[in-house]
Every structure is written in structure tokens, then in C-alpha cells.
Subunit: 160 residues, 2 copies
Amino acid sequence: MAAVDLTNHPGHLARRLQQAHYLLWNAMVSEEITSPQFAVLNALVDEPGLDQRTVGERVGLDRSTVAEVISRLGRRGLLDKVRDPGDGRRFLLRLTEDGVRTHRKLALRTARMNQVFLAPLSAAEQTQFLDLIRRVADAAEGLRNPGDPGTPVEPLAAPT
Amino acid sequence: MAAVDLTNHPGHLARRLQQAHYLLWNAMVSEEITSPQFAVLNALVDEPGLDQRTVGERVGLDRSTVAEVISRLGRRGLLDKVRDPGDGRRFLLRLTEDGVRTHRKLALRTARMNQVFLAPLSAAEQTQFLDLIRRVADAAEGLRNPGDPGTPVEPLAAPT
DNA sequence: CTGGATTAATCAGTGCCCTGAGTAATCACC
DNA sequence: GGTGATTACTCAGGGCACTGATTAATCCAG
């Protein structure tokens, strides 16, 4: 009767997009290491010694989720977790050699996967696709982070 | 060292987009009914009497997930589930009056939320945003559904 | 009409994602 | 230097998402 067309709903599309990505990741990158797990490895390659909270901030995982992800990576022997001698609340994280190797291997596959994922779009469209998602996600994150001067956002005023 | 810039990775962006949507949904639409639950209600408004499998197909939920979602909606009294007299494997689903009321109420709020969500983009960009996501998601779904003549997709050939 | 495939749904198991509550360590102010 | 707020992390609980195995009903070939 009064049903809505979900194909115009960004949330619905975002969910489908993520599902599609999940499946492709499993097929082309890894069945063991997930995309969020790779993001954590990637953050620690560049900055060893980060604590959990900061890693979560870098890759967009909340405190609970980042704890689970890190515990899995630890169980697999891809990273080590030691108490910060300077601040007993923190754990300092760093990749093991295995973690570095795994990251390097997956980085290559991830690049290939991204090409396949974006293949239906032209080069110009790909750039815009990433740009548009980034802008929407950044703005929405800003909505629940007052004090972040990034984009105050007038919620009800449609631009142009 | 060899870290990758995740802000160019569609999968990472898709995840952040969905997280952002999740939070906005909670703030502007409902803390009780989730977006996938709304999608199921929406499917049943138009076509009462669908079975679980078909509902899942319509809204993009796999067999396990759709079972959980439907069981929650049933517990909340928003839909009824009866054995198909013509085929004892199926359950026929239909909304209760409460389900229809809930759907109507949330449909309005969802429309408002979508405006806020897309507000950082101009009208033209909004259209393209939805179009690009749809194309990428459709193509990726097609990759794991051979037999679906939608888009066979040459995975490694970049268009244009 | 009967026995082997298919199909709808369930269940167990893993992982991501959020919230709210709790614990322990540190910081900051008096 | 001690007390109250803040901070890092953990834990419990609810929900989405996938896989592989199982159950029950139906379909179809012989």
C-alpha cells in the first residue's frame, strides 16, 4: 500500500554495498583475516606502539569492537600487547613478524580486490564515488561529535 | 612503513558509511526498530503473505539473518507467521495492525533522516551518489550469482 | 507409488557493531 | 598528599551477517 522504494534509501544501499564487499573480500583477499582486522594491522604497520583506543580512532572502531578484533589478532599471533610501563591503563600494541608478513600479503590482494569492486565505474566515477561516500560519512560522524570543528552541518538545509 | 591509505578503500568507506547511518537511524528514526527490520516491514506492507525466503531476497538478507529479524518482529507483535496450508515448508508472513502503524510512522521519519544524511551533497550529487552505490553493489552481487544475466562483468578490465 | 533430489526453515558457530555498567590506573585540584 | 574526576579497558547484552550442517516437506523420475 504505502510501501517505500528502498533502492533510493542511502542506508539500505550502504548495507548492501557492505555485504557485497564482505563477500568479495572473502573470495579475493582472505577467509581468515577480515577487513576490519586488516585495518588494524595497517594502522600498526605505520605506528607501532599505539594503544587500543587510538587504533580504534584511526580505523573507526569503537572501544568494544576494537578490543575483540585485537584479541583475535593476538590469538592468531599477529600482534603483541604489553602494558605501557609509563601508564598502567594502556596496552601498547605492535605487530609480530608474522603480522607484518600478513599485512604485506593482504595489502597486495586488497589492491586487486578494490579494482574488481570498482570495475563497473569509469575512472572519473570511481574518484567521485569515493569522494561522495567520504563526504557523507564524515558529515554524519560530525553530527554526533560536537566539539569537532570539521563540519558543523546545517541538518535541514539542503545545499544549492 | 608500507601502510596503505584506507581513505581510498571502498570497503573501508562502506563500513564507515554504514556505521554513520546506524547512529543517525538510532537518533532520528527509532531505537527499537532497526533499519533491516524496517525493510522487512516495508516488503510486507506491499505484499502480505510472502514467505521468509522471498522477503530475504527482496530486502537483501540471507536465510539465517532474515529468520532472526522476523522472529524479533514477531516477538514485538508486528507480524504474524502461519504455515502455508498449500506447502508445509513455508511460513506465510503478514503484518499486524500494529506492524502497519509502525511502518507508517517510521516511513515518515526515515524520509527525514535521509534528507539529513544526504544534506552534505547537492541535489545532483545525491542522485549520482545513489546511482554509483547501486551500480557497484549490483555488480558485486552479480559476481557471486552466476546464472543472473544482469551484469556478467569483466573483473579485470577497467572501463573507458 | 516410492526413493532420491530439491527446497524452506532452523541451529551452531564466528565475527562485527553498538550501548551501558563496571574496574583499575592516572590526573588535577585543593 | 589525598580525594574526586577522567581515562583505558573489560564485560554483559542485543542485533546484523555469513557459513555449514540438519530437519522436514515437497517434487520428480522411474
